[in-house]
Subunit: 273 residues, 3 copies
Amino acid sequence: MTRMAPPVITFLSDYGLEDDFVGVCHAVIVGLCPDCHIIDLNHGIPRHNVQAGALVLSGALPYLPVGVHLAVVDPDVGAERRAVALRLANDHILVGPDNGVLSLAAELAGGVIEAVDIAHSEFRLEPVSATFHGRDIFAPVAARLAAGAALGQAGAPCDPDDLVRIELPRPAVDNGTLVAHAIYVDRFGNVQLDASHEDIARAGLKLGTTIQLHRDGREPRPAVFARTFAEVERGALLVYEDADRRMALAVSHANAAELLGLSAGEQLRIVVE
Amino acid sequence: MTRMAPPVITFLSDYGLEDDFVGVCHAVIVGLCPDCHIIDLNHGIPRHNVQAGALVLSGALPYLPVGVHLAVVDPDVGAERRAVALRLANDHILVGPDNGVLSLAAELAGGVIEAVDIAHSEFRLEPVSATFHGRDIFAPVAARLAAGAALGQAGAPCDPDDLVRIELPRPAVDNGTLVAHAIYVDRFGNVQLDASHEDIARAGLKLGTTIQLHRDGREPRPAVFARTFAEVERGALLVYEDADRRMALAVSHANAAELLGLSAGEQLRIVVE
Amino acid sequence: MTRMAPPVITFLSDYGLEDDFVGVCHAVIVGLCPDCHIIDLNHGIPRHNVQAGALVLSGALPYLPVGVHLAVVDPDVGAERRAVALRLANDHILVGPDNGVLSLAAELAGGVIEAVDIAHSEFRLEPVSATFHGRDIFAPVAARLAAGAALGQAGAPCDPDDLVRIELPRPAVDNGTLVAHAIYVDRFGNVQLDASHEDIARAGLKLGTTIQLHRDGREPRPAVFARTFAEVERGALLVYEDADRRMALAVSHANAAELLGLSAGEQLRIVVE
């Protein structure tokens, strides 16, 4: 006799792990869906940074088992923003605030098939607090969906076309120069850019060559386009394709974001020699 | 055929997540109760802060599934303090040092029905280290209880009336002024007070009104009594009912504890205009 | 009908918890071995510190259920180092880079019975990234082994004698002086030494006596050899046997590493009065 796979809930937030926000959400989930496997995808999203949450969720999506993906980065909790649950074209379900944090993953999965507004879900915990919808709305809805409830039971239907979307900056190639943007900095100080391998190829950049990194108000700096950190000397700046298949900047054995004074949002120009 | 719900163990401590203290306790638990679902309630309790541990555990209790709740904040490990396992009136079981960390949750649950001293429990791992009772006493006892052992098997009976209790400061209303105390600061810098919604009502405070916050040796500061952060401007000080249904101070989009130089233990006077 | 114990995977790394490295590895594991119980042993190993990872893994090993132990501290990811899976004499399985991080645990368990090189494992996720072998090689191999695959299926056989080993410094007793080395500092600032209880006994040190701690270029400091922190005054320096049964330095209610300016690698001389 084979055992059925337990239902999966992944959980991403900006709650951090110093307090019990994450733990209490786990407790609520386990109470409603005792058999589920909860995967803490990441609770270190910078506070209120909806774009970072959206990028991490969409970057992880190709590796997530089919299940319910709970994403709570919610600067406007208690205000007008909607709370939603979404069924995607790839059969995954997303639960979170309708502020864009779910939008990049939804696009990557081929779009939203069915959406419900869960602000007044019958699955909510009563009384609903004004400040902790993770516990009172999102976790119980995710748990009940993982336990087998139909999406339509979780809330009132709403139009997928009305969902809030995040617009990322777009890289561009202009006269041999790749104009890109820093979009995420990890804890090692590696800086992810919005440019893909294809963008780099269009700019004429090849593995092993040296480029110049231009930034407003700073001296250009050379960097090697390498496959891995191990191919350059300690302390050398490199451009590489990261594990999300995006271009990234790093310094071997050091923190590139700190050394370059670079943070998410800044525009960079990569010039092939 | 339905599957029985796996036994639940929740785990709170001041061990932090930088070392393997928590991981080794998990390993011990899984070895003794392979099917259990372990919920990490919070390992970020400030080191040795028994009161903070007690507050977090009691705040979370209403959201915890029936199970064994392990709470290890244990500044006197290796000294005279007892180690105990307690069956509560609501059928939950608590395991931890008898230094008060369990006491607020026990009171909230309606009291202790049965208590055992587990210092010499037959469930201990031998040899017992002098400094890591989480691994050697508390985790194995919790695991065996979760796996179905009777409380009486875990240790020697002791009198629930002899258990150590934490006495929290009490808020008071005096001539239109609410005297309260900061009891917990979360990682966002929100400051929880010991005052409840009822205390606030007794002081005559109504939603949307402005109060003055008085502290020894400082200028009074105005604050709005609001339902959510979203109701005030960025940077404004507010008083609100937090998710534990206690009054709290916050600054919208900022760290109130830092801005006010306020930490747990300080007395505050809230004066209605 | 009894339920079979779920397979166990423990996971140690230097990935930290700020990003989604750990969460994505969990997702990959759960996708391939839905029933497994994943224990996060520790993700706070200092970045690239292979020796610290090896020490933590071997210290924890006696407490780990039989299972697959995944250890990823991998400064040379993408370079020449091998990736391996090892079956130990005690039937545990280790998975990780062949840079020594697995070696102390393997020795403690009685040695390696069977070793395979998994760099080109059929269990890898394709395409394999250059920088995230945790996700693309180690996690899927660990998951498939936990799910029941034979070790020989996971990669190409290799000679256990060729595996990279870590050589720790060795303590020595010289004329009543114990020469030892700091090998690990935990988040409380307690400093683990490479000396065992037996080394201390050989040096003639007895519980309750005072020793002098000598370090190059510093004044000697007295310390008490105590069983627990509770036996000395707040602020006093003590030497004690820690939970790994190694000698350690601590300051009661304070951070010894900070107060002494001491970090892993330094040599100390402990002189019995």
